[in-house]
C-alpha cells in the first residue's frame, strides 16, 4: 500500500473506523485519477522546459497509474458501490464521489482509451516535427485535462460538480480540436464552442430551477426529495434544460450540428476520444439524472424521442456522406441515438441495453476513427485500400458487421436486448422507435458495406500511391479493440451477466442513497 | 489465283450416259420387288426446285395450277435444294447465276434430276452471242431432260415431266451418277468458266467415295487443281477431348481454352 501516505497527506481522510482500513484507503484513492491528471496538466508546460522527454512520458504514465488505481479499487473494494467525501466534508454539505461499477467502468475506460488514443503516441511520421514538438506539451496538457474532467464526470455525485467537470471537458476539447492549427478546425471549434456554451447556459438555468425547487444539488439528496418536489412540469422543464445542456456532448439530435464539422476537421484521435469517450460520459450523466432524479415516464419519453430522431437523421445523413470522417461522424450520431433509446427503456433492461450499446459503440467507433487517421479522404479515394492494408480493411469489416448487428457478434445481442425491451414497453412510441431502429439498420448496412466493398475493389492506378495504410499504432489499437469485441462476442453469456449485475446496481436508487448517506440523515432540520 | 490459261482443257465431251446400272443386278425377287416399289415411289413423288432464271418460268404457274395440275402426277414445288428432287432451270443462265445453280445442284440429295427448259439452256438460244451466259448446261452438270422451245408451252413442260417420270420408273434416269463418276470433266468446264480457284462448299469427291459412286474419271487434273487450294470441308465430328486428362503431368503451361 504505497499510496497510503500521499493520499493521507493530501486529503485528510474521513476515516470511518467501522470499515476495513485498507478498503477505505483504496476507496479514497479513487480521487486520484481525477486529481493527478489535473496536476500533471498544469505541470506539463514547466516540465517541458526542463525535459521534453519527461513531459512526453508524463501523460501516459499518469493515465496508466490512474487505470491501475481504478482497477485496484474495483478489485479490492468488490462489487458494492462506495462513496468518497472530498476533503472529509460529509455528503449534503461536501462534495462526494460515488463509485459504483458503472462509474468505475467508465472511469477505467477514460484512462484506457485516452491512453490508447494519446495524441502523441505512435504518430512519429509527422511532416512538421518541429511544430509538433512546439505544440506537444500544450496538446498533452489538454488531453490530460480532458481525461481528468471525463473521469470526474463518471465519478462525481454532485450536480454542480458535474457541471464544472463538463465545462472543463468542453474547454479541453475545444483546445484539442483546433490543436493542429488549421483554419477550418478553428471555425469548427468556434461553432462548437457557441453550441456548447449556450448549452451550458441552459444547463445552468436547469440547475438553478433544480436548486430552487429542492435546495440541494447532491444527487443522493436529490434522489430522496425528487418524488415530492420535482413532479410536474417544473421538474420536467429542469430535465429538459439539463438534457439540452448535456446533450450537446452526448450528440443528441438537435444539439449536434457541430459533430460532422468537428470530426471532419479535428485530428482523428481527438475525434475518436470525443465520439467514443466524451459522448458516453455525457450520456452517463443524463442517465444518472434520469435514474435518480427524474423518474417521470415523460422524461424517458423525451430521451426516446431525441434518440429516435438522432438515429434517423444520423443514419440517413451518413448514407449521403461522401468522406470517411463524416460518414463515421453521422454514424456516431445514429449510434448515440440508439444509446439514448436504449436508456429510455424502463428498468434494468434499459440500463443493461444502454450500457452494452454504449460500450459497444465506444469500442467500435474509437477504433474506426483510429483507422480514419490515414483514411481521412473521400470514399472514392478508399478504393482498393485493402490491397495496402488488408488487416485494417478486415477490421473495418468486422466492426461494420457488429455495428449492423450480425448474429454471432455482440452487436446482434445488443440490438436484440433493445428490441425485446422496446417490445415489452409496448407503447406506440416504443414501436415507432423499434421501426426506426430497423429502418436505420438497413440504411446503415448499406452505407457501411458500400465502403467495405470499395476497400476490396481493385485499386485505381493513381490512387494506390496516394493512400497510405493506417499507422501501425492505430492498427494495433484497432486490433486490440477488435479482439475485445470478439472475446465479448464469444463470452457473451458471462459478459451479459456481468453487465446485468452492473445495471441492477445502477438502477438501484436506494442503494445510491444508502451508500452516500450511511446513516439516514434528517433533511433541513 | 491461277490464271484462266493454266486450267487444262477438258477432253472431248462425252455423251450423257443413260441407263447404266451400278453394281450387280439384284437377284433376290423380294429385293427386285422392293426396288420396283422404291422406283415407283420415286417416280410418283417429285419435289421440284424451280430455278427461275429466265422467261420460261412464266409457263410454270399454268402447269401447276388448275389447268394442268402437276400435283396429280405427284409433283409439287419445294424451296430448298435439300428437299428437292428436280432442279428446273427455266431459261438462260448467266455465269454468275451458274455458280449458284451448281452450288444448288450439289446441295441436292440424290437421286436428283435436272431439267433444262427453253432453248437457252440447250444452246444459249438468243443469248448465243452473249459473253456472260453459259451456253450449254450439260457442260456443267448432267441434264436429264431438255424441254426445248422459246418458251415451251405448259403442255410441253408436262410432257417433259412425264418423260422424266417414265425414265425414273424404268430406272433410266440416273444422270446424277455421272456427275460423281466424271466429276473431273464437269469441274474442268466449271474451272474454265469461273477460274481456277473455283470451289463450292460441297465436297463432291468425298461424297462419291462415301456412297460408292467413285468412277475412273472422278479424279483428274482438275480435281488435282482443286485440291491445291481447297478449303478443308470435313464435317465437324463430335469429340470428347479433355486436355486435363490427356496431359496430367504437364499442367504448368496448359490452358483448355481455344487457341
Amino acid at each position: 500500500m504505497t499510496l497510503e501516505l500521499p493520499v493521507d497527506l493530501l486529503f485528510g481522510l474521513n476515516l470511518d473506523l467501522n470499515l476495513d482500513l485498507t478498503k477505505v484507503m483504496t476507496a479514497n484513492a479513487i480521487v486520484l485519477p481525477v486529481v493527478l491528471p489535473l496536476l500533471a496538466a498544469f505541470l506539463m508546460q514547466p516540465l517541458a522546459q526542463v525535459s521534453r522527454t519527461l513531459a512526453r512520458l508524463l501523460g501516459p504514465l499518469v493515465l496508466a497509474l490512474g487505470a491501475w488505481i481504478i482497477l485496484n479499487a474495483w478489485l479490492d473494494v468488490g462489487p458494492a458501490p462506495f462513496s468518497v467525501a472530498i476533503g472529509g466534508f460529509a455528503a449534503p454539505l461536501g462534495i462526494v464521489f460515488y463509485a459504483d461499477q458503472l462509474a468505475l467502468l467508465f472511469a477505467l475506460a477514460v484512462q484506457v482509451f485516452t491512453l490508447l488514443f494519446w495524441p502523441g503516441l505512435g504518430a512519429a511520421a509527422k511532416a512538421d516535427a518541429a511544430a509538433d514538438r512546439q505544440r506537444a506539451p500544450r496538446r498533452d496538457a489538454l488531453a490530460l485535462l480532458l481525461a481528468s474532467a471525463a473521469t470526474g464526470l463518471a465519478l462525481s455525485g454532485d450536480l454542480f460538480n458535474i457541471f464544472i467537470f463538463y465545462e472543463l471537458a468542453a474547454v479541453a476539447s475545444f483546445g484539442l480540436v483546433c490543436a493542429d492549427g488549421s483554419g477550418r478546425a478553428r471555425i469548427a471549434t468556434l461553432r462548437y464552442l457557441f453550441v456548447s456554451a449556450f448549452g451550458s447556459v441552459l444547463a445552468l438555468v436547469g440547475i438553478a430551477i433544480l436548486y430552487l425547487q429542492t435546495g440541494t444539488l447532491n444527487l443522493a439528496q436529490l434522489a430522496q426529495v425528487a418524488p415530492e418536489t420535482l413532479q410536474g412540469p417544473i421538474g420536467l422543464a429542469a430535465f429538459a434544460l439539463l438534457l439540452i445542456g448535456f446533450g450537446v456532448k452526448a450528440e443528441l439530435f438537435p444539439l449536434n450540428a457541430w459533430v460532422p464539422e468537428v470530426y471532419a476537421t479535428a485530428p482523428a484521435r481527438v475525434s475518436a476520444l470525443l465520439a467514443g469517450l466524451v459522448s458516453k460520459l455525457a450520456i452517463l450523466v443524463i442517465v444518472r439524472l434520469l435514474i435518480l432524479v427524474f423518474q417521470q415516464p415523460e422524461a424517458s419519453q423525451l430521451l426516446l424521442v431525441l434518440g429516435v430522431l438522432g438515429v434517423l437523421t444520423g443514419e440517413f445523413s451518413a448514407w449521403r456522406a461522401q468522406d470517411f470522417p463524416r460518414l463515421l461522424a453521422f454514424s456516431s450520431i445514429g449510434q448515440l441515438g440508439l444509446v439514448a433509446i436504449a436508456f429510455s427503456i424502463d428498468g434494468t433492461t434499459g440500463i443493461l441495453a444502454g450500457t452494452a450499446v454504449a460500450l459497444h459503440h465506444l469500442i467500435i467507433k474509437s477504433a474506426l476513427f483510429g483507422l480514419a487517421n490515414r483514411w481521412s479522404g473521400g470514399l472514392d479515394a478508399l478504393t482498393g485500400a485493402a490491397k495496402g492494408a488488408p488487416r485494417a480493411a478486415g477490421l473495418f469489416v468486422l466492426f461494420a458487421l457488429s455495428l449492423v448487428g450480425v448474429p454471432p457478434l455482440w452487436g446482434f445481442w445488443i440490438k436484440l436486448l433493445i428490441m425485446v425491451g422496446l417490445v415489452q414497453g409496448g407503447s406506440p412510441l416504443d414501436l415507432l422507435a423499434l421501426g426506426a431502429i430497423l429502418l436505420a439498420t438497413a440504411v446503415e448496412a448499406h452505407y457501411l458495406f458500400r465502403v467495405a466493398l470499395r476497400l476490396y475493389q481493385p485499386p485505381v492506378q493513381d490512387q494506390a500511391s496516394r493512400l497510405a495504410p493506417p499507422a501501425r499504432w492505430d492498427t494495433g489499437v484497432a486490433y486490440l479493440l477488435g479482439a475485445c469485441l470478439v472475446v465479448i462476442s464469444v463470452a457473451i453469456t458471462p459478459a451479459t451477466e456481468a453487465l446485468r449485475v452492473l445495471a441492477q446496481q445502477t438502477g438501484d436508487v436506494l442503494l445510491y442513497i444508502d451508500t452516500v448517506f450511511p446513516q439516514p440523515l434528517a433533511y433541513k432540520e | 489465283m491461277t490464271h484462266i490459261d493454266q486450267v487444262p482443257t477438258p477432253g472431248a465431251p462425252l455423251p450423257v450416259e443413260i441407263g447404266v446400272k451400278a453394281g450387280a443386278a439384284r437377284t433376290n425377287p423380294f429385293a427386285r420387288v422392293f426396288d420396283e416399289l422404291v422406283r415407283f415411289a420415286q417416280s410418283r413423288s417429285l419435289f421440284m426446285l424451280h430455278y427461275c432464271t429466265g422467261c420460261g418460268a412464266v409457263e410454270l404457274p399454268p402447269a401447276m395450277t388448275s389447268r394442268f395440275d402437276m400435283e396429280r402426277l405427284g409433283i409439287q414445288p419445294m424451296v430448298s435444294p435439300r428437299q428437292a428432287d428436280i432442279l428446273l432451270i427455266t431459261g438462260y443462265v448467266s455465269v454468275k447465276t451458274l455458280k449458284r445453280v451448281i452450288l444448288t445442284y450439289e446441295q441436292m440429295n440424290s437421286p436428283k434430276y435436272v431439267i433444262g427448259i427453253c432453248s437457252c439452256t440447250v444452246n444459249g438460244g438468243m443469248y448465243w452471242q452473249s459473253y456472260a451466259t453459259a451456253k450449254k448446261l450439260n457442260d456443267y452438270m448432267p441434264v436429264d431432260i431438255y424441254i426445248a422451245g422459246c418458251m415451251p408451252r405448259p403442255e410441253a413442260v408436262i410432257e417433259g415431266l412425264r418423260g422424266l417420270i417414265e425414265n425414273i420408273r424404268t430406272g433410266r434416269a440416273d444422270a446424277w451418277k455421272d456427275y460423281y463418276r466424271r466429276y473431273d470433266y464437269y469441274l474442268g468446264n466449271q474451272q474454265r468458266l469461273f477460274g481456277a480457284d473455283w470451289q463450292t462448299s460441297t465436297d463432291v469427291i468425298a461424297e462419291a467415295r462415301h456412297y460408292d459412286l467413285f468412277g475412273p474419271a472422278t479424279l483428274g487434273a482438275h480435281t488435282a487443281l482443286l485440291e491445291q487450294h481447297q478449303r478443308p470441308l470435313e464435317a465437324l465430328e463430335m469429340r470428347i477431348e479433355i486436355p486435363e486428362l490427356m496431359r496430367r503431368r504437364s499442367r504448368s503451361d496448359q490452358d483448355g481454352t481455344a487457341q
Binding site: V443, H446 | L233
Partner: protein, 676 residues
C-alpha cells in the same frame, strides 16, 4: 454399442434392404474396410473418434461436421488439396445425414438447445429440416466437387483467393443448416442473418459487377431481415416467447389485423430472399455475377431459404386455412389468393425477363426467380398434390438449376464468355456438357421425362382440381416462356454454327464433368422414379399438417387422373426406339457434311461469315410484348432510392444549418412548450 467401420457398414447395408445379389459387393467393401481397421493408426485414433461420432446426437453430429468444415477451410483453404478435402467433408456431412434415415425411411427428430445471454437457442430437426438440409448439403457437395479441380486452378490464376471461396461456401452451408433446423425465432433469425451474409460474401468475392450486385442484394437482404425482425418482435410482444410452440399459440390468438401485419412483415422478409415480386430485382445479377461454382450453389438452394421461411411460418404456423379467412377489405380476394397471385406473377414476369437476356448466366438466374413462384403457388393451393408439387419442385429445381449452371460455367471455363451472341455450335466440341444442359433444360421447362415435369404436373393438377383457372393459365404461360428461353439457351450455345475461334475448344474438365453428369443422371432418375423424392415430400407434409400426397414409386395414384412416370418414360423410350428404327432402319445412308455446306439461297458461305441466328431471338414476340414489361418494377426500386435520397438530403440539411444554435433554441422552446 460396438462400433467399427465394419459394423457401421453392416448396419448401413442392412438398412438399405438391398437384394441378395449385392452381398458380393458388400463383402468387398467389408474386406477393404477390415484392411483399414487393422492398421495401427486406425486403432489408435480412428476407432475413438468414430465411436465418439456415432455416439452423438444426429444434429450435433451434423453441426459439428459442418463447423469442422468451416474451420478446416479457414485453416487449410489456401492449400491446393483443399478442394478435395472440402468434397470429402461435405461427403461426410451427407453421410451424417444418411445415418438419420432421411433418404430411406422416416427421418428421426433430434434437437440441440443452448443458452446464450439468457436467451435460449433451440434447434430441432424434423422431416422438413432434413429435406432442406439434404438439398443444401447435396448442393454444397456437388459445388465443392465442381470447384475442386480445374475450375479452382483457373480461379486462383485470376488472382482470387481460394480460401475465401471455400470459407464462403462452408459458411453458407453451415448457416443454412442452422436455419433449417431452427426451432425458435431467435435461432431462425440467427441462421437467417448468417445465410444472408454468407451469400453476400460469396457474391462479392470476385468484385467488379459482382460486388455491385452484391451490394444491391445487401440492401434488399438487410431490409428483409429487418422486416423479419419486426415480425419477430411483434410475435414476441404477443406471445412473450421465441419458441415455436408459443408462437403457434400466439398466432392462433391474434386478431386479423395482427395476422395481416405479421404476414406483411414476415412474408415480406422471406419474399425478399425468395425473390418474389416486387422484391426480385436483386437476384439475377447477384447470382449470375458470383464466381462460377458459387453461382451454382446460390442458384440451387440459396433463395429456397426464403421458401423455407414461408413454409415454416405461413404454411406451417399461420396455415393456409387461416389465410383463406383473411379477406382483403373491399375486394373478394383472400390473402391466400393474394399470395398465389404474387407467386403467379413471380412466375411470369421474371421468366419473360429471362427471355430477353443474352447472357446465359443471367438467363438462368432470372429463371431461378420464376421457378420460386411455382413452389409457392403449389404450396398456396394447399391440397395434397399441390403442396407436394411445390415441395418437390424445391428438390427437382435444385438439381436442375445446379446442373444447368454447371454446364454454363463449364462453357464459360472453356470459351471465356457466357454471351449468347458470341457462342454457337459447341455441341461437337463439348458433347457431354451439351447432354447435361439438355437434361437440365428439359427438366426446367417441365417436359417429360425429366424431374421438373413431375413437380410441375402436380402443381397444374392441383390448380385444375381446386378450380383456379387463371392461376393455371399463368403457370402454364410461365412454362411456355421457359420453353422459349431455354431453347434459346441451348441453341445459342451448343447448336448452330461453330465459330472459328471456338474450333479448338475442349470438353469440360473431368472434375467439373463428373458432378454435372451425376446430377444429370439424378434429374433423369428423379423423373423416371419420382417415388423416393415423393416419400420425402410426404414426410414433410405430414410434419406440417398438410394432407399427404398418395404416392407410389412411379408417381401419384388418383382416380381423377394420376401419373405414373415409369410407364410414361418407358413408353417414351420405346417411342424413341421406334423412331430410331424408322429413321435408321428404313432410310438410306447419310453423310455428315461441313457446316458451310448449307443452304443460303445460293450464297457461298465462308468461315468468316457469321451464319447464325442468335441476337434478338424472338423478334416477333418481343415486338409485341417487349413494351409491356420493359423495366417492369424497376420504377419501384428507383423511386425507393429517390425517396431515400430525398429523405437523406433533408436529414443532412438539418446538420447544415448556418446558425449552430438555431436548432438548439428551437428544441429548447419545443421541449418547454411540451412540458408545460
Amino acid at each position: 454399442m460396438a462400433t467399427s467401420p465394419t459394423t457401421v457398414v453392416d448396419q448401413l447395408l442392412a438398412g438399405l434392404h438391398l437384394p441378395d445379389g449385392f452381398d458380393a459387393v458388400a463383402g468387398v467393401i467389408r474386406e477393404s474396410l477390415a484392411h483399414v481397421t487393422n492398421s495401427a493408426i486406425w486403432t489408435r485414433y480412428g476407432q475413438q473418434s468414430l465411436e465418439w461420432l456415432i455416439g452423438m446426437n444426429p444434429v450435433d453430429r451434423l453441426f459439428m461436421l459442418s463447423a469442422l468444415t468451416l474451420l478446416l477451410m479457414l485453416l487449410l483453404g489456401r492449400l491446393r488439396s483443399a478442394g478435395v478435402l472440402a468434397v470429402l467433408l461435405y461427403g461426410a456431412q451427407f453421410a451424417a445425414l444418411l445415418s438419420t434415415d432421411t433418404l430411406f425411411g422416416a427421418p428421426v427428430a433430434a434437437e440441440v438447445r443452448i443458452t446464450v445471454a439468457d436467451q435460449s437457442l433451440h434447434w430441432s430437426y424434423d422431416a422438413l429440416s432434413w429435406f432442406f438440409a439434404m438439398i443444401t448439403i447435396g448442393a454444397a457437395f456437388v459445388t465443392a466437387w465442381y470447384a475442386a479441380g480445374s475450375w479452382m486452378r483457373r480461379y486462383r490464376e485470376a488472382g482470387q483467393s481460394a480460401r475465401a471461396f471455400h470459407v464462403a461456401l462452408a459458411l453458407n452451408c453451415f448457416g443454412m443448416l442452422l436455419l433449417v433446423g431452427s426451432a425458435d425465432l431467435l435461432s431462425l433469425f440467427l441462421g437467417w442473418e448468417l445465410v444472408s451474409w454468407a451469400s453476400f460474401l460469396l457474391m462479392a468475392l470476385v468484385g467488379g459487377p459482382g460486388a455491385q450486385a452484391a451490394l444491391k442484394y445487401l440492401a434488399y437482404a438487410i431490409s428483409g431481415a429487418m422486416l423479419l425482425l419486426g415480425g419477430i418482435a411483434l410475435i414476441y410482444s404477443i406471445g412473450g416467447s421465441f419458441e415455436y410452440g408459443a408462437v403457434v399459440a400466439a398466432i392462433r390468438g391474434m386478431t386479423d389485423v395482427q395476422v395481416w401485419t405479421l404476414l406483411l412483415l414476415l412474408g415480406g422478409g422471406f419474399a425478399v430472399k425468395l425473390g418474389l415480386l416486387p422484391f426480385h430485382l436483386w437476384q439475377a445479377a447477384a447470382y449470375a455475377e458470383a464466381p462460377g461454382a458459387g453461382s451454382v450453389f446460390l442458384g440451387a438452394i440459396s433463395a429456397r431459404m426464403g421458401l423455407f421461411g414461408i413454409i415454416v411460418f405461413i404454411v406451417g404456423m399461420i396455415g393456409v386455412s387461416r389465410l383463406m379467412t383473411l379477406e382483403i377489405p373491399y375486394t373478394f380476394m383472400s390473402s391466400r389468393e393474394l399470395i398465389a397471385w404474387i407467386a403467379a406473377l413471380t412466375i411470369i414476369v421474371p421468366t419473360y425477363t429471362a427471355l430477353q437476356q443474352h447472357d446465359a448466366r443471367y438467363l438462368l438466374a432470372w429463371h431461378g426467380i420464376g421457378q420460386g413462384g411455382y413452389m409457392l403457388l403449389g404450396l398456396m393451393v394447399g391440397d395434397a398434390v399441390g403442396s407436394a408439387g411445390g415441395l418437390l419442385h424445391c428438390f427437382n429445381y435444385a438439381i436442375t438449376q445446379a446442373a444447368l449452371l454447371m454446364a454454363v460455367f463449364a462453357v464459360v471455363h472453356r470459351t471465356g464468355t457466357a454471351d449468347l451472341n458470341q457462342l454457337g455450335g459447341l455441341v461437337t466440341r463439348m458433347p457431354l456438357t451439351f447432354l447435361v444442359l439438355l437434361f437440365g433444360i428439359i427438366s426446367l421447362a417441365g417436359l417429360p421425362p425429366m424431374a421438373g415435369f413431375v413437380s410441375k404436373w402436380m402443381v397444374y393438377r392441383s390448380l385444375i382440381t381446386e378450380g383456379m383457372p387463371l392461376l393455371f393459365v399463368a403457370a402454364v404461360v410461365g412454362t411456355l416462356g421457359t420453353i422459349l428461353s431455354v431453347y434459346k439457351l441451348i441453341h445459342n450455345i451448343f447448336l448452330g454454327q461453330l465459330r472459328v475461334e471456338h474450333q479448338g475448344v475442349a470438353e469440360a474438365p473431368l472434375s467439373m464433368l463428373i458432378p454435372m453428369l451425376g446430377l444429370s443422371a439424378l434429374i433423369f432418375l428423379a423423373g423416371f422414379i419420382p417415388g423416393p423424392a415423393l416419400s420425402w415430400v410426404a414426410q414433410v407434409q405430414g410434419q406440417l399438417g398438410l394432407p399427404v400426397v398418395p404416392w407410389v414409386l412411379g408417381g401419384i395414384v388418383d382416380p381423377r387422373g394420376g401419373l405414373d412416370m415409369i410407364w410414361l418414360v418407358g413408353i417414351l423410350m420405346a417411342g424413341f426406339g421406334v423412331g430410331a428404327l424408322v429413321f435408321y432402319g428404313f432410310g438410306g445412308r447419310s453423310r455428315r457434311v461441313h457446316q458451310l455446306d448449307n443452304y443460303a439461297g445460293g450464297h457461298f458461305l465462308t468461315a468468316d461469315v457469321h451464319y447464325q441466328y442468335s441476337d434478338n431471338f424472338y423478334a416477333g414476340l418481343m415486338h409485341l410484348i417487349g413494351p409491356w414489361y420493359r423495366g417492369a418494377f424497376r420504377w419501384l426500386e428507383r423511386s425507393l432510392a429517390a425517396t431515400l435520397d430525398l429523405v437523406s438530403f433533408g436529414a443532412e440539411g438539418l446538420y447544415r444549418v448556418a446558425q449552430p444554435t438555431l436548432l438548439m433554441l428551437a428544441a429548447a422552446v419545443a421541449m418547454l412548450a411540451w412540458v408545460f
